[in-house]
Amino acid sequence: MTDWLEYPGGVYKKKEDLYRELKERRDRILQMGDPQVLERRRKAGQLNARERLELLFDNGEYLEIGMHVKHRTTHFSMDKAQIPAEGVITAFGKVNGRWVAAFSEDFSAMAGTFGEYHGKKEAYAIQFAMEKGIPFIGMNDSGGARLQEGMDTLEAYGWLFRTQTQASGVIPQIALLLGPCLGGQAYHPVMQDFVIQAKNVGFMGIAGPAFVKTQIGEEITLEELSGWRAHAVKSGQTHVVAEDEKDAIAKAKELLSFLPSNNRERPPRLKTEDPPDRIIPELDDLLPDEPFKPFDMRKVITAIVDDGYFFEILGLYANNLITGFARFNGRTVGIVANQPMEAAGVLDINAADKGARFIRFCDLFNIPLVTLVDCPGYIIGSRADWAGILRHGAKLLYAWSDATVPLISIIVRKSYAGAHYGMLDKSIGADFVFAWPTARITIVGADTAASVIFAREIRESPNPEEARRKRIREYSETYENPYVAAERGYTDDVIMPRDTRKYINRALDLLENKFVTPGTCPWKVWRKYSNINL
């Protein structure tokens, strides 16, 4: 404490005292919260909230704002509570040379609980990032709502959700789960573009195990209810799993490298040594001769993209569809591919949901899309129909129809029925469709077609089995190939598998300046947005 000096108009302090006061306040905040919590975490090999920011930002440098922000509740001893930085550090810094906004919740400061001003700081960081056109990263590690603040806490969640929704589609938003994030607060990460969850420490859920037990009598561990398997494998809400906190931060930086800073920019284009017209002879041998045998579509992806490098999104969920980022000749591209090794590569509800949100993210952020198609169709049967496969499957049709980024489809093998547009074809907006000679592009498989068209003939034939086989063969020879579509111009060309990378790169070069706005395209009339089936 320093002495106030008097002058006739009031009191003042010496500069050196004022400067010391700043240093004391700052030091106290920088020491963060409860030393025991900090020590316990350190011993467990965890990073604290500030170390995480240092790891995220280039050279560990960041500009902090709002470090002095403080709650205003006095009830329940809150007037005496010391909560450095209000339990969340909001900061700006550079990641790989580009500005990024972030917050990092501090579990040592009153368990990182979310109160009115904690929430206000978070919402402000997002709003600031949106206005300045820079990505936002949230590092979640919080004991949940600060109940002492009552209604003030509750209201702050609304500000956060509304702000992040308004920023959605303007700037990329990435959530890191580096600690608990339970309760309604968990809508915050889920409503961002991508969730990265650290194993063993990151937990997310609408309610934790204690609440679940008292309210509905379910006994379940935190790990099982809210851990990485729960969301990366079961719920499809964790897009990327990280081994630990450091890995989560590294993966966030890697993800950012594919993305533009905002929706007015293009993604950064990197230099690559990988020749754009590289021929890949081994692709000619990849597919089995028998159309019922699966193959690994990941091998096609890694063969054709720059340096075989593929950053998968939701890689453990709805694996019948593969989504992720890669580069072609240094350009970021979103890949959507069927995986015949999983559930026959069928499009089901979860795959449609996964694919559609990925497509829309890419479209929002000027990232071209490439599909690799081998799909028997949308899933059928009472189970699928009653679960609403039509309305969920429609998400893909909406996403493609609305998309204005460069759209390229490579039909590798089967492209039947609704899945023909579900996986992007000319009629729903593709700029280019290239088919391999192994492609089978038609409305339905030959045996189904034959059994419908020739039902009576087969039934009345003295040898129904032979009649059926003959008609299946006839239908297959007529339609199950890439050439009928190519003759009509629905497929631009039939290409050898080995040339796939070359054709995609040429197409991307040509589509570099594709630009669709209400001004350039008459069907893009003004509207708020399309009424996508949700």
């Binding site: 045998k293 028997p376 169709g377 049967g381």
Partner: protein, 73 residues
């Protein structure tokens, strides 16, 4: 001990079961091959552990969501 199940992603016919009760499996090991949507489809162990139950046999028709095997880990 926690349990994970291997379930049929689609309705179809079991062609081959690669494990039996008591087998140790590693994550990613083949558990069952089935045929559905005119495709052969192999299902893999979601976790490393011990197979405590196998509920299907070759030739059997199964529905989407049916449990094929239980793995304890």
């Amino acid at each position: 001990m926690a349990q994970e199940t291997v379930t049929a992603p689609l309705a179809g016919k079991v062609i081959k079961v690669h494990v039996k009760t008591g087998d140790r499996v590693n994550e990613g090991d083949e558990v069952c091959t089935m045929e559905s949507m005119k495709m052969e489809n192999t299902l893999y162990a979601p976790v490393s552990g011990t197979v405590t139950e196998v509920k299907v046999a070759p030739g059997q028709f199964i529905q989407a969501g049916d449990v094929i095997a239980v793995i304890e880990y």
